[in-house]
Symmetry: C2
Subunit: 422 residues, 2 copies
Amino acid sequence: MKLQTAKGIQDIIPEEKIIQNKIVQDLKETFEQYGFSPLETPIIERLETLSAKFTAGEASDALKETFKLKDQGKRNLGLRFDLTVPLARFVGMNPQLPMPFKRYEMGSVFRDGPIRTGRVRQFLQCDIDTIGTSSMLAEAEILSAADSAFKKIGLDVKIKLNNRRILNGILDECGIKKKEEAIIAIDKLDKIGQEGVIAEFKERKIKSSEKLFKLVKPGISLSELKKKVTSEETLKGISELEEVFGYLDKMNVYSIVFDVSLARGLAYYTGPVYEVFVKDGSLKSSLAAGGRWDNMIGSFLGKNSIVPAVGVSFGIVPIIECLKKKEEFSQKSLTKVYVIPIKTLDESLGIVQELRSQNINAAVDLLDRNISKNLKYANSLGIPYVIIVGKRELDEEKVLLRDMKSGDQFEISVKEVVKKIK
Amino acid sequence: MKLQTAKGIQDIIPEEKIIQNKIVQDLKETFEQYGFSPLETPIIERLETLSAKFTAGEASDALKETFKLKDQGKRNLGLRFDLTVPLARFVGMNPQLPMPFKRYEMGSVFRDGPIRTGRVRQFLQCDIDTIGTSSMLAEAEILSAADSAFKKIGLDVKIKLNNRRILNGILDECGIKKKEEAIIAIDKLDKIGQEGVIAEFKERKIKSSEKLFKLVKPGISLSELKKKVTSEETLKGISELEEVFGYLDKMNVYSIVFDVSLARGLAYYTGPVYEVFVKDGSLKSSLAAGGRWDNMIGSFLGKNSIVPAVGVSFGIVPIIECLKKKEEFSQKSLTKVYVIPIKTLDESLGIVQELRSQNINAAVDLLDRNISKNLKYANSLGIPYVIIVGKRELDEEKVLLRDMKSGDQFEISVKEVVKKIK
């Protein structure tokens, strides 16, 4: 038998999982600080639910990347590819939910797509969404939560903000019809420049416009844009963002900047959209992204009603990649102290239990090895302290504490060990 | 479209997820205290890996309950049904791991089985395992970790301990051949009594034995049993357990009791086995269970080598069920304070941010509703405090704090609110 993981799917080894757990904990605490409640939707959904997101045109392509399966009753099922569709299904199924419903969810999502660098078929997604309010306060709160989360994680970020209404209005003003396709091309302005976007317009048979690039111009400010446009929709979009910036100011959040070229690929956004980047530019991909999606839940319910929704999704993989560029991570274990008994197993077991009861993560030799093998083991796991428990030291109610980094050794009591390490 | 989850698969709503998160956090902290490192193996595995666990006889039945799927490359895949097989695969793939390898994993597992009360097709499993040591110290450590975990969770438990060697030796002594089948029947002695076991023996065409029930007798002590048996294997099993109890004594763990009838259904156990029950008997099902499984990893590697392993698996569903019998859980939100602005939105945003910066989970009205609707909303989520921010109070640098349980109201400064709530 070949011992391997499924194609495109990886184990998360302890040194990686320790970093991931830290980020997840930071996010969780931030989300709860902002009043979001935890929800867990299942990994397996009915295939019909997963397909409902897509309009006729998109369906075939996106569903190709959905893992499909059947249960023993031959029901058609699939693995979720995001946390948004299950949320829409959940809200639709639970009309009694007090509104606004603010939830966070962290869970694995699956895409049966081609494997390129950094793309995997199973990955962790962490989302917050506020359902049931059209107020721009919801956007401000979500942006502030993202700002707080990255502060907690320890990354200096810039959050780009735009509004689909602004782009839609501008495209109308410029007489461009295939708006969704045009938006996908404009989203790349940052990367491929004006020339690149024009080339992509040609490919997609979209008529370009001089006016477009006078308005969709890198660095243009909200107030400058306001003077240059006439479209009602664009002006409405601008005034929404002014409202968001006003709230953010009162909330002391200053990491958000307007960027008219930010479009976000997904068709389901209906209002403000945003994307988070690391400030020093050390990573090009975004660390988090989101926007307002007022139509999906309503369309799930099959009514004409609108259930407003706004959210943001955090990408754990790029966040870890970013942190790794800043710091070195070598912890393979969270153990603080490793205890080596020298013919003192009984007493050593008491000591290791004492450390644990003091909330110090501790382990003890389980293989009856000699000191040098034990030190090598502790070292290979990056455990910072070792206690060697000898009979002579015990007689004086002491143990030998070794700092594995400096090599310094101290003959001290267990109480003093606790004080030193805590 | 029908809005529903897949058959046998449920959403975990906020009030449930809040309890689950608390238990998971308690377990995680305990596991780390005992020196276990986090690992995450994938939810999708190669079907060949998942099948490798079963011997020819078992394969068809158990694999029937495995969710199967294919990727676009037509590879045969499946969803994991436990965390043990992926661990065996991981250890097999990583021969460089420093031994002993102590890991914990928490993740969803899947079984496409019949839906009975309380049985679901996706559920959370939480395991710790120590790989690479035959020492009974590993058993003692895992039992002590389980003991600590339940103390932290707040459940008074009794842990039953037995040894497969003891049962195997006794069955030999009694001339019973179909040992695996006999063990499955004996495991039910507690529930169905001696008569029941004899009946099941008949069904399975196993010759019963008077001697068997003199040895496998509820309440028999380890020392009593030791006097009555002759089998080398049984005596070896008894001496292993004596060793475990000796270590547990030094570790101040006293919740473990010997139970000769405890067998555990799974065929892959090779030594000590254990099962955790709530002491007051309010729930019959076990809360956690495990044992030594020295053969699986070796058989995965296709060599004759033995890679010793010992672990325990925690059942989150029965643990939650047990806690619910003791306490009432009604929190739908972790929010501590809900802020209601009365034409003071700007100042209220500053206040809610101040609370968050003090690590107080806070939310603010996002729908511009009146006081009574806002109070109703806060109440429906079980939020304990509300702050009403009026202009008059603000002029005196105060706000109105309302205790939602008692109805008491206080006109105090935000600083005093923080002190009061923290």
